[in-house]
């Protein structure tokens, strides 16, 4: 297994370099450059030219590429052209924020999704199954940013106008912490973070939770109808044991591959959710960087995204092997 992981990680290196090369080509092929934010009739065009020179953007593309690749391979991500500070510092600040948000969302996705899916499968075609299916579908079918805005409108705005509404169910609409965060007690800080985390994480995760529920239901149904489950039932095992022990383990097999699939999905969803809730994470960073043509920052954020996805896939594959003994990795 260790050898397998090592091999996969080695294989990931050319993959990542390939992705980065593609991103580099794509970004530089797109029209526009980072001087756009300085453009104004009161700014002399020579200044713009000088900026491009300072940033090395006047060099031929292949030289820029080699130069970037060299510094990247020595572990230097360069300077952000728009934030005027080392890209590494930006990443160090933003990655934990995004991990916090998407990690929370991921827990929500699988906890809610699998639980609901099992209930539905066990009670196939019952009223409960149908209602849950419809509710899950309804939520799944809402555009993320619309759902986020609606949640915000209700829980960060309307409920403030309802007198009897309990305070702990009133949420802030933006940022990771309150203005007075630093002055709070340890417990208060935790609660404050949690309150700020709730709406974004729910907006980001709930749609995927609905789809995990769907996959879990399908997968459970498939398993439930297989012979060995019938056998287990026939042996007189209690229904709970049959479902949770025998059926669930096999039903989780395709669900676990979803883990790898949800990572990129979460990140792209994070762009929207982070903008709506002004959450200072990677999604907003990459979006702003692309829009402002902050090349070093785009490259670095792409690298982080791609790495996270590669690791996600690897984890999914390892879990896959762990739950299904039929799959062997040489």
């Amino acid at each position: 297994m260790t050898r397998y992981i090592a091999r996969r990680l080695l294989q990931a290196i050319p993959l990542l370099l390939g992705i980065l090369t593609l991103v580099f080509i794509f970004m530089h092929a797109a029209p526009g450059d980072p001087t756009a934010m300085y453009m104004h009739p009161s700014v002399a065009p020579e200044i713009l030219e000088q900026m491009k020179q300072n940033w090395g953007l006047d060099q031929p593309l292949h030289i820029q590429y080699v130069r970037w690749m060299k510094s990247f391979l020595t572990g230097d991500f360069g300077y952000s052209l728009t934030q005027h500070r080392p890209v590494a510092a930006i990443l160090a600040e933003r990655i934990p924020n995004t991990l916090l948000l998407s990690g929370t969302a991921l827990v929500l996705i699988f906890a809610i999704g699998i639980a609901v899916g099992i209930v539905q499968a066990v009670r196939q075609y019952s009223l409960l199954d149908n209602v849950l299916t419809l509710v899950a579908l309804f939520i799944y079918s809402m555009p993320t940013f619309w759902l986020a805005l609606i949640l915000m409108l209700i829980f960060a705005f309307k409920v403030y106008q309802i007198d009897w509404w309990p305070d702990f169910l009133r949420f802030p609409a933006s940022d990771m912490t309150s203005v007075g965060h630093d002055a709070m007690s340890g417990w208060g800080r935790f609660a404050d973070r949690l309150r700020h985390l709730t709406l974004p994480a729910v907006s980001l995760g709930i749609a995927s939770a609905a789809s995990v529920a769907r996959y879990t239901r399908s997968s459970m149904l498939e398993v439930i109808h297989q012979d060995y489950i019938r056998t287990a039932r026939a042996k007189g095992l209690p229904e709970r044991t049959v479902i949770l022990k025998h059926a669930l383990k096999n039903a989780l097999l395709p669900i676990i591959t979803l883990l790898g699939l949800y990572l990129p999905f979460l990140f792209s969803g994070a762009v929207l959710v982070e903008i709506v809730f002004s959450w200072p994470g990677m999604g907003r960073t990459i979006f702003d960087a692309i829009m402002q043509r902050d090349y070093p920052l785009v490259m670095a954020t792409s690298f982080v995204f791609a790495t996270m996805v590669v690791i996600g896939n690897l984890v999914a594959d390892i879990l896959y092997a762990a739950v299904d003994p039929r799959i062997r990795y040489e």
Binding site: V23, L137, W146, S218, S268, V271, N313
Partner: protein, 382 residues
């Protein structure tokens, strides 16, 4: 006595002859209520459209625009088929259950048994009818603004504007109807691309394993790991923004997820007895893949495809939010929500109706997909 009986029979015959002319009635009398109501509903909808939208139906001949002709064709076809199907099915004797049914017929019977799936099917038919009939259903044009914008903007829903008006005084209902065309077309093209590619590549990778698997899956990994936003922005910026372009790019970037699902299924299938047997018999690999493996992974693929259909509509909405979708005044549900979001606090109707349209559509696709899955897979039949 006998006279009156004969008269009754006569009346009955007269009645059933008359009933035959009303679509759905023979079926209703026969006890096939669902078929009956469907046909009756279809016919009355068409007639209602014809009556209520009369001036615009007539305008077909003067306007001569394509979408009017399409709508006119739909109307005619709807009426003719409601009547024709009714007559045809009334003439056909009812088949006793479970006798001499083909595999597809069994699937259809299973499908019909799933109420949610049928609901989805109805919703989808309704959506498509609404899309096709759009010019007859509303007196406004999709880009038509109020005479004096200041007086007609953000009007709440009323009889004149069933869903209110937006910031330019445009009728929201009209835009929802016309937006359906774009939003519905988007899904199909992208999904067709992604499902085909994904199934083939996933099956090949899973079946052969080894180096083929490694190479293909690394390729899949590359595509999955590639930040799609970079790709979309570049392509949209480089080429002139067109819907087709966005759709194709989406199709080309979405297939890897299908491929992974298919591969996962195939990995466990290839160890199963029937595949081993086929191999032992010396069947060729393409034959095993397409005849024995692909049919067995169709279930998950269909689920993935239906989810994909809705997904694309949702992604389009997300792109609209970022200001990267189809240019105005063409309405898509996504850009309607994105455009109306600043008014959400005081003009809820501008975003709510297109939002609900998206939800209804995506729900419909998913219900159908679920139904298909349950009915197509023999293992799931009870």
């Amino acid at each position: 006595m006998s006279d009156s009986r004969a008269g009754d029979a006569e009346r009955m015959r007269g009645f059933s002859a008359a009933a035959r002319l009303v679509p759905g009635l023979p079926q209703l009398l026969d006890g096939r209520r669902r078929t009956g109501f469907t046909l009756l509903g279809l016919a009355s909808t068409m007639i209602a459209v014809l009556v209520l939208g009369y001036p615009r139906v007539i305008a077909t001949f003067t306007e001569g625009r394509l979408d009017y002709w399409v709508a006119f064709g739909t109307l005619t076809l709807g009426l003719v088929s409601a009547w024709g199907l009714s007559v045809a099915s009334a003439a056909r004797p009812r088949r006793p259950n479970g006798e001499g049914l083909s595999e597809w017929r069994i699937a259809w019977r299973e499908f019909k048994r799933n109420r949610l799936a049928v609901l989805g099917l109805y919703l989808m038919v309704l959506l498509y009818l609404a899309t096709l009939l759009a010019p007859f259903l509303t007196p406004y044009g999709p880009a038509e603004m109020g005479e004096v914008i200041a007086d007609t903007r953000h009007l709440p829903p009323s009889l004149a504007h069933l869903m209110g008006t937006d910031k330019f005084g445009r009728d929201v209902l009209t835009r929802v109807l016309f937006g359906a065309r774009i939003s519905l077309s988007i899904g199909f093209i992208a999904v067709a691309i992604s499902v085909t590619l994904g199934t083939v590549i996933g099956a090949v990778a899973g079946f052969f394993g080894g180096i083929v698997d490694t190479v293909l899956m690394r390729f899949v990994d590359t595509l999955i790991s590639f930040p799609r936003l970079v790709l979309l922005i570049t392509v949209i910026a480089l080429f002139d923004r067109s819907l087709l372009l966005v759709v194709i790019i989406l199709g080309l970037t979405l297939w890897p997820s299908t491929a992974r699902i298919v591969r996962g299924e195939v990995l466990s299938l290839r160890e199963r007895e029937f595949v081993q047997a086929a191999r032992a018999l010396g069947l060729s690999s393409p034959r095993i893949i397409f005849r024995h493996i692909v049919p067995n992974v169709l279930g998950p693929v269909i689920v993935a495809a239906t989810l994909g259909l809705g997904n694309i509509i949702l992604i389009e909405a997300g792109l609209s939010f970022l200001g990267l979708s189809v240019p105005p005044p063409t309405p898509t549900w996504g850009n309607m929500i994105a455009d109306g979001r600043e008014a959400m606090v005081f003009a809820w109707w501008v975003t709510t109706f297109p939002g609900l349209a998206i939800v209804v559509t995506v729900v419909a696709f998913n219900l159908i997909g679920d139904g298909l899955r349950d009915s197509l897979d023999p293992r799931l039949r009870m």
